[in-house]
Amino acid sequence: MAWQWFHRLGSPRWFYEKTGPWMPWLAVLSAVLLISGAVWGLAFAPADMKQGNSYRIIYIHVPAAFLALAGYYIMAISGAIGLIWKMKLADMVMKSAAPIGAVLTFVALVTGAIWGKPTWGTWWVWDARITSMLILFFLYLGVIALQEAYQHQDTANKASAILALVGTVNIPIIYKSVDWWYTLHQPATIKFTSESTIHPSMLYPLLTMVIGFYCFYALVLLLRTRSEVLEREKKTRWVQDLARQG
């Protein structure tokens, strides 16, 4: 009995009907969190002593970077579930997670570059974290490219699941190597380690934004997976009925 929900998850229809009522709530929740967090961070949190107002980018940069990395693991784990238990739904989640993760990685990179201009005086610095983020972006692009290249949907899913798993094994190694590489070449002028002593008045809006981004991620992942479910099941009676209802 305990495993019943797990087997039910294999049914795309069950998933679609179950998650339907969640969507408005999730949308409202993430909108409220993101808007209040952004307003709080932009207008009410105190300015940073050293960086002034430019630090306010942290409220989108850090959550996006969190989700970019977490998203890769979500993608790889659902890919693994799809490979091991041959669960169609997990494949659909994996396929949906790839573009979301890529966009969030892109957001983290761009906001980081914009933040770097007033802080370091340059758009791009080969900093360890930025470089790792860039490589994560490439990993996402690889998964998406592989997914697109196969005509047959099932093969595409399996192949990109394997690639995602290989990437998961490699991510810690890549991060450690890039860290090590950076300490080797670190220019003495750039020091950026003040994040650990962040003041609570700056931290709370950040936490709001992080939770908001998580909710948003869940929302978008469900949205994408749901439309993927409809696409794959379009020949079945329940999707046809759904279309008839409007």
Binding site: L34, A38, W40, L42, A43, F44, A45, P46, A47, G52, N53, S54, R56, I57, I60, H61, A64, S96, P99, I100, V103, L104, F106, V107, V110, T111, I114, W115, K117, P118, S201, F216, L219, V220, L223, R224, R226, S227, L230, E231, K234, K235, T236, R237, V239, Q240, L242, A243, R244, G246
Partner: protein, 85 residues
């Protein structure tokens, strides 16, 4: 917690850092909206396409019925209803 700026124009300027901060938030907003809008549009397009096909199928079966009524000897065209899985 208090409003950190003297005026709205002050908030927009952010002591010179305004363009950077607002550009970052703007790009993020556009990216997040893109993530929300694409699956919604795809869902709507798919359902519309299915509806269109259903209408076509219905019209086809109507026609074949009429044809069958007019000419009883004509063989009824096989149903091409996609619902039959």
């Amino acid at each position: 917690m208090q409003f950190q700026f003297d005026s709205v124009s002050d908030l927009l300027a952010m002591a010179g850092h305004g363009p950077y901060v607002w550009a970052a938030y703007g790009i993020t907003l556009v990216s997040l909206l893109y993530l929300v809008v694409t699956p919604l549009r795809r869902r709507r397009a798919l359902l519309a396409a299915l509806r269109r096909q259903q209408r076509m199928n219905r019209a086809e079966t109507e026609l074949s019925k009429q044809g069958a009524a007019a000419d009883p000897a004509a063989t009824p065209s096989p149903s091409r209803d996609p619902r039959v899985n």
